[in-house]
Symmetry: C2
Subunit: 207 residues, 2 copies
Amino acid sequence: MRHYRIPNETVRRLPIYLRGLAMLSQSGNASVSSQKLADFVSVNAWQIRKDFSYFGGFGTRGVGYDIENLSKQIKKILKLAVVHKTALVGVGNLGSAVLAYPGFGTYGLSIAAAFDNDPDKIGRKMNGITVEDVSRLNTLGKRDVELAIIAVPEQAAQDVADALVAAGIKGILNFSPRRIAVPKNVKVITIDIATDLARLPYYIPSS
Amino acid sequence: MRHYRIPNETVRRLPIYLRGLAMLSQSGNASVSSQKLADFVSVNAWQIRKDFSYFGGFGTRGVGYDIENLSKQIKKILKLAVVHKTALVGVGNLGSAVLAYPGFGTYGLSIAAAFDNDPDKIGRKMNGITVEDVSRLNTLGKRDVELAIIAVPEQAAQDVADALVAAGIKGILNFSPRRIAVPKNVKVITIDIATDLARLPYYIPSS
DNA sequence: CTATGTGAATTTATTCACAGCA
DNA sequence: TGCTGTGAATAAATTCACATAG
């Protein structure tokens, strides 16, 4: 049982483990070995054990890990034990996809509000959520929303980010390819489809 | 001018630099210093210089980098000098977003074909591309398509991947949260919206 | 006898500091 | 003088090998 600093890369893998555990649990497993989990999520067994060792041994030697308990521990570490409300800004193609995305539940995340600046969309109900005018972003602070997803055209991304920060949002998932500037107490994770796709050719053996 | 192995992390950053250079070029710049580019793309200046040093110095000391030339070199390294045709499988919410995504041009990437298994969608034209039946995935080999994007429900992801591999696809961008198994000469990059969002709370100072 | 947990070794990536060229 | 290019130093992450607990 150690309590050194947890490597960033470990934090990145924890949600993946959590998802694998949820699936194994659903298919009737009560416990799992590092090797079995490794096969399932495509990470090495020793990597998994090392990752878990950063915050204490919750396995049983000779047996493996109790799925229920391990999941609970990982959720606690990732601060996912309480449900986090998330705001979605921009309900175009990408935003609609996010709204319809089925995978958030596993992590205790829920899209609690959606915003757009298109009058045709404002007031409409999508996936059970009524789309609001972006001018109402400033109400988020009072509504207990901590996270936000930016799915607007890149020209608007910085303005939206500024509004979110002003409203007290502390974590942003940014789908625009533009780097957005925020105070350093706000965490931004950027996903850019094109830059990821652009890496593929490099790894393809030139026939 | 060195020719050691290029770090993976460097390869990951190259498309970001390329994008920054394209923007700087559009706003009328002909050259740029590592410091200016650093401010623009949020990477340290020394990191940028180090990255470039892996494949030779194309800067001019005291001046900076010629944007035109540098872009060309990066494209060559990433094998983006020739246009890569990409197939999209699944034109639901997420797939539609990918089709409409404006950011591929910078990288010489183009969505050349789209597939779905929904009869209502097959034959329909979306963003100038006619949606085909997934049973026609096997034609991709003859059509000079090398890359593919998987945007189908996770249950179908592995089957689609198998079909793509059989058709000779060499690089896959996988939007399903499930790890897909492929021969090791095929490169897969997975993007899972939920696992990224799930990392955010960890970094938020608990008030 | 099985599968965890972890120091130690190794590999990989970042950061520094400054020599060297335009 | 200004900014690149790169060895050397540091830091971070991965991999190994094995002692240890159930």
